[in-house]
Subunit: 143 residues, 2 copies
Amino acid sequence: MERALAAARAAGARGEVPIGCVIVGPGGAVLAEAGNRTEELKDPTAHAELLAIRAAAAALGSPRLVDCDLYVTLEPCPMCAQAISFARLRRVYWGAADPKGGGIEQGPRIFDQPTCHHRPDLYPGLGEREAAELLRAFFRERR
Amino acid sequence: MERALAAARAAGARGEVPIGCVIVGPGGAVLAEAGNRTEELKDPTAHAELLAIRAAAAALGSPRLVDCDLYVTLEPCPMCAQAISFARLRRVYWGAADPKGGGIEQGPRIFDQPTCHHRPDLYPGLGEREAAELLRAFFRERR
């Protein structure tokens, strides 16, 4: 989660909402890390998790990230939660909860749906304080 | 929708699940068209809609596809439905319903959630018969 927080800080420094994500492979090595790049890439799908999933799948040469774990600083949105399910990720660790846009513990609760065919193990609240403070500071500066 | 169906047929010919998508700009011109490429790209996020949204955003140089409409042969999944919302698409037309994996009229009903901050106008059932038959024929051949 330290590396995900560093990726979040780097995203904030680029003017992006500070969210960072790391995917770790079965052997414990980092397969991919990414920060949010929606502004830079002008791409509404360029969330940290989606970029990391695409990079990890490219690194493994497979659309399924079996026995891989994902760390992200904010609760994934519904788009990213569904992508996590498609990618067959084993565990998802996240920092801050996202009452306004989250897709796991709020709103659509993607992994609890009958249309969800793979549910990872979930570990909320890892590095929560620092992840939440990064986001608060970012939005405080912009208001 | 004819062009989306053609993109779906082309995807099927490549060995992908036959789903196709077209995005039309405010003036009526096609901004992007894509078929499903999850197998070819080894990318679990490479659904027709996500590829088309990314291409249209790149074409416009903006993450928001204001006054643009999306046509897709199958009801979007939760990942693609949320991406459609982030992209601020105006209208979504789709062909066949997807009881097992759809994200609009089943399961998480993405656009009905309090965490969804933009809801497009929805037009289900356009080209439904042909879209459904394409999918049925594809899966019949593989069983």
